[in-house]
């Protein structure tokens, strides 16, 4: 059975991006996947703009601190500290929303999807919005560039140095956390280095830190200039040289390729394909674009077994729906709440190992919630769930917010509430249905349900068209398209891509 270009292009768009957008619908069957991929690459060539959402109050404060000088840090009183925390939290929230909008709207789908992958690979929790912005920028700029360059920039970012305690890594008191995670999670993977390698590498990273502005600082007096032995090589290495040693190890190419394969192609690893890709990745000196081209232009990427085989992550699901059905949300906090309830809040990975993904996304509560989203969009259902508290972000302040009961009126006036979970809240989505409905204009009525499910579903298994028809609104063509679409989106099949 040969697969249609439409299905293959949708497959490409779900994997190399966040799903097909409504404006691409007419093109899906016009072009071959190769042509589609070429266009995706072209659209991702432009250097991304720096995303800056930090609040003026914080910026002013930071300038002030800078003037007073690093040595005599200005002491903030309790109220100021509280305000700084709150502004930072709002900042990270805004960064989340901004980036999600970007994922929905940008033509540079390949780049943002890659950046999303690296966001999970270089997973970092940090409550400083400047640091988070900086790290996001590193990841987006290098998403399709050179892995080695990105690794070095990430390793020098204030966000990661702080998160992995390298500010405490000093000559007399080495802290191995940073060195360990660089090897275990960012490059080689577990089992490909010894405890002694970690110890020695940690010495090379002593003195690496960042100032309040988030700029990298090499603190010479804290650095251990002595000789170290890492992975069999000996010398008076510094941090950058240790990173070079890690990059020289072919295992790093293999580890990264395997992770990319499992994320973009199939959770079930195919060792032969991974080895072939990893060899080329290593030979191409860690050029990420070339690796992705190898994957997305190969024939096997479009094999039936790879199509519809992945469980969408919560972010992929939420962004994918919005790409197909452009919408304005009066209550944007709902997106934050959904991310939390479904288990993937951007900028808050569970730990440095990132989101485990795959079947881990699905349990009875998360699955039922996912299938209720289309009804929420249609405002026939309300959010009546409460997310778990995240004390790292709440700093014990959430009890105050807890009192804020969800309002039923549109407006979404409850910034803090999404963090703590709100009850009985509508999403208030205004969907722009016109372009979507227009796409089906030449489809005969009796074929509509079939056409809709072909656009929305990637799986071989299909929910019965009789059921969709039975539950769709039959009072006119447009209503039928809308309701049938939301019904198809409420199925287990739609959770896959």
């Amino acid at each position: 059975m040969s697969l249609t270009n439409q299905l293959k292009n949708q497959h490409l768009m779900w994997r190399a991006g966040f799903g097909p957008a409504v404006e691409q619908l007419d093109d899906l069957s016009k072009y071959t996947p190769k042509q589609f991929f070429k266009a995706l690459v072209k659209a991702s060539e432009k250097k991304p703009d720096y995303i800056d959402v930090a609040d003026d109050y914080l910026k002013g404060l930071m300038m002030g601190i800078e003037e007073v000088g690093r040595q005599q840090k200005k002491e903030l009183d309790a109220d100021e500290r509280k305000k700084v925390q709150q502004k930072n939290r709002e900042g990270v929230r805004n960064l989340n929303m901004y980036w999600m909008h970007e994922m929905v709207g940008t033509a540079s789908q390949l780049r943002e999807k890659m950046a999303f992958f690296w966001h999970g690979h270089f997973a970092c929790r940090n409550l400083n919005v400047f640091y988070q912005q900086g790290l996001l920028d590193v990841i987006r700029r290098n998403a399709l560039g050179n892995f080695g360059t990105m690794l070095k920039e990430v390793s020098k970012s204030a966000a990661m140095l702080n998160f992995l305690n390298n500010q405490q890594n000093r000559k007399d008191h080495p802290n191995e956390n940073f060195a360990r995670e660089v090897m275990e999670l960012f490059t080689l993977g577990r089992g490909n280095y010894t405890e002694n390698d970690v110890k020695e590498a940690a010495r090379a990273f002593t003195g690496w830190g960042a100032n309040v502005k988030g700029e990298f600082q090499f603190r010479r007096f804290q650095h251990d200039f002595g000789s170290k032995t890492v992975l069999g090589r000996t010398g008076d290495f510094d941090g950058a040289e240790v990173l070079d040693i890690l990059l020289e190890e072919k295992q790093t190419a293999r580890y990264i390729t395997q992770k990319i394969y499992k994320f973009f192609v199939n959770e079930k690893a195919d060792t032969d394909k991974i080895n072939w890709l990893a060899d080329r990745f290593y030979k191409n000196e860690y050029d990420i674009s070339k690796l992705m081209e190898d994957i997305f232009t190969s024939d096997w990427f479009y094999d039936e077994k790879n199509i519809g085989a992945q469980i969408k992550s919560p972010v992929e699901l939420l962004v994918g729906i919005q790409r197909m059905l452009p919408m304005k949300l009066e209550n944007e906090e709902a997106l934050m709440l959904l991310q939390r309830v479904l288990g993937q809040l951007l900028f808050y990975p569970p730990n440095v190992a990132g989101w485990p993904g795959g079947k881990n996304w699905i349990d009875s509560s998360s699955l039922m919630m996912r299938m209720r989203i289309p009804k929420l969009i249609n405002d026939v259902d309300e959010m009546n769930v409460k997310a778990k508290d995240d004390d790292d972000t709440m700093m014990g302040m959430k009890d105050v917010n807890m009192q804020a009961k969800g309002n039923k009126k549109p407006g979404g006036q409850q910034s803090g509430a999404a963090y703590t979970g709100m009850r009985r809240q509508q999403i208030n989505a205004n969907v722009d249905w016109q372009p979507y409905v227009k796409h089906y204009e030449s489809v005969p009525r009796e074929n509509l349900a079939e056409a809709i499910s072909k656009i929305l579903l990637q799986t071989k298994s299909r929910v019965s068209m009789d059921i969709i028809k039975q539950y769709a609104d039959q009072t006119g063509r447009e209503n039928f398209i809308k309701t049938a679409t939301l019904q198809v989106m409420s199925t287990p099949e739609y959770q896959l891509c």
């Binding site: 309790a78 929790r125 360990r180 959770e267 519809g308 085989a309 992945q310 469980i311 309830v341 288990g343 808050y348 569970p350 730990n351 440095v352 190992a353 485990p356 079947k359 881990n360 699905i362 349990d363 009875s364 509560s365 998360s366 699955l367 039922m368 299938m371 209720r372 009546n384 769930v385 409460k386 997310a387 778990k388 508290d389 995240d390 004390d391 790292d392 709440m394 700093m395 014990g396 959430k398 009890d399 979970g421 799986t459 071989k460 298994s461 929910v463 019965s464 009789d466 059921i467 039975q470 539950y471 019904q487 409420s490 199925t491 287990p492 099949e493 959770q495 896959l496």
Partner: protein
């Protein structure tokens, strides 16, 4: 009123072949059984890092009052249980439990290389990993994996919440989160979902889509099952009208039913008391105290207190010194309460923390929480703790 058991639930006897729904639902119309003396545990998570030193107060220790000039709880306020220690003034019900011989207190519980991030430390408690390991499944979930092989519903572990905790996620089997059995039943009984479910044909068996349908089938049938069970013998006892009160009331009703649940999980918080600790801890402890008190009274009346073990934990304790905002910052080792009519050892089980021997201002742990898990798994739930915890931890003697 003692409940007589006529109906029996067949635990684990349904083959995995009946994964898809129609057969599945029918299976529950059959006869079923619960073992008499069916032992269950109730895990009460104190989220946010409860301050253990103001929970079990070492009122004879000058170092305590020195470290906490404002936050220290005076000897005459504390509810004394031994010559050296008293409970937080709000914990009157726990004091009664202590006097009654149904409370055990474990001090200095923690783990090596403690982490001070809430999320990370909670991860470690949930997964029971070492602090340098990142596991993606939880200890109760792995209990399900071991216990529930071939069984058809994830109702052996229930969390009273909208979102399922990592602790209850196994490699193959995940527990179920239910805040309100009636509401879950409502969602699961949407006709559209039932019809979609019914029309699905399991083709290849190994496809991810089948995994989703399997989860959906389990959810729908569990929702029915839990709802039915919750109405079988609902408790008439009075409970405080708080979230925890409601949750424990639901748990009690399920315990009196014939449900196959072995583990109940519920959280209270936030105990992250960086500022103005007194008021917040007082409020949360009052909620905990009143709810647990009502729960125990209820269980005793129903003669089930010997079968239930409730224990509390928090991701970490707090620093010994108070901070400048009348609060405390993140610390390390902490105490745990064990509440049951079936305790072998009661009272304060081990010495209070040594405040003269700190690690950079933090308590040193001397009981690994994984020993507590191992003990409960082995001696209370009769499970293979070594397989579940991936290591043989020594058993303790409170059971």
């Amino acid at each position: 009123m003692h409940i007589k058991r006529k109906e029996f639930i067949q635990i684990g006897s349904l083959a995995t072949a009946s994964l898809m729904v129609p057969k599945f639902l029918k299976a529950f119309e059959g006869k079923s059984m619960v073992l008499p003396g069916n032992k269950v545990i109730v895990i009460l998570q104190l989220s946010g890092g409860n301050d253990g030193l103001n929970t079990v107060i070492p009122f004879r220790n000058d170092l305590y009052y020195k470290a906490r000039p404002k936050l220290g709880i005076a000897k005459d306020k504390a509810l004394s249980v031994t010559d050296e220690a008293g409970l937080h003034p709000a914990l009157t019900g726990f004091k009664e439990l202590y006097d009654d011989g149904s409370l055990a207190i474990l001090n200095n519980v923690g783990y090596p290389n403690p982490d001070r991030s809430h999320f990370r430390s909670m991860d470690i408690w949930h997964t029971a990993s070492q602090s340098h390991e990142y596991w993606t499944n939880g200890w109760v979930g792995r209990y399900l994996d071991a216990q529930c092989n071939g069984c058809d519903k994830p109702t052996q572990a229930i969390e009273l919440d909208d979102v399922l905790s990592l602790a209850l996620k196994g490699e193959d089997i995940k527990g179920i989160a239910v805040k309100n059995p009636r509401r879950l039943y409502g969602t699961a009984n949407e006709k559209f979902f039932r019809d979609v479910m019914r029309s699905h044909k399991d083709e290849a068996g190994e496809q991810p889509v089948d995994y989703l349908y399997k989860t959906m089938a389990e959810t729908l049938s569990s929702a029915d099952y839990i709802f039915q069970q919750s109405r079988m013998h609902p408790t008439n006892a009075e409970y405080p009208k708080t979230e925890l009160g409601n949750s424990l009331k639901t748990i009690a009703s399920l315990i009196y039913s014939e449900i196959n649940t072995k583990v109940y999980y519920v959280s209270l918080g936030s105990f992250d008391t960086h500022i103005n600790q007194d008021a917040q801890q007082q409020r949360l402890f009052t909620e905990m105290n009143d709810a647990v008190k009502a729960f125990v009274k209820d269980l005793k009346q129903q003669h089930r207190f010997e079968d239930v073990m409730l224990f509390t934990f928090s991701e970490f304790g707090r620093r010994v010194n108070q901070n400048a905002s009348n609060g405390t910052d993140h610390g390390t080792a902490n105490n745990m309460f064990l509440v049951s009519g079936g305790l072998k050892q009661k009272g304060v089980l081990n010495p209070l923390p040594d405040l003269s021997d700190l690690n950079e201002g933090d308590l040193k742990y001397n009981v690994d929480f994984k020993n507590v898990y191992a003990t409960i798994l082995k001696k209370w739930l009769n499970a293979d703790d070594k397989a579940i915890l991936s290591k043989q931890y020594e058993y303790m003697n409170f059971i």
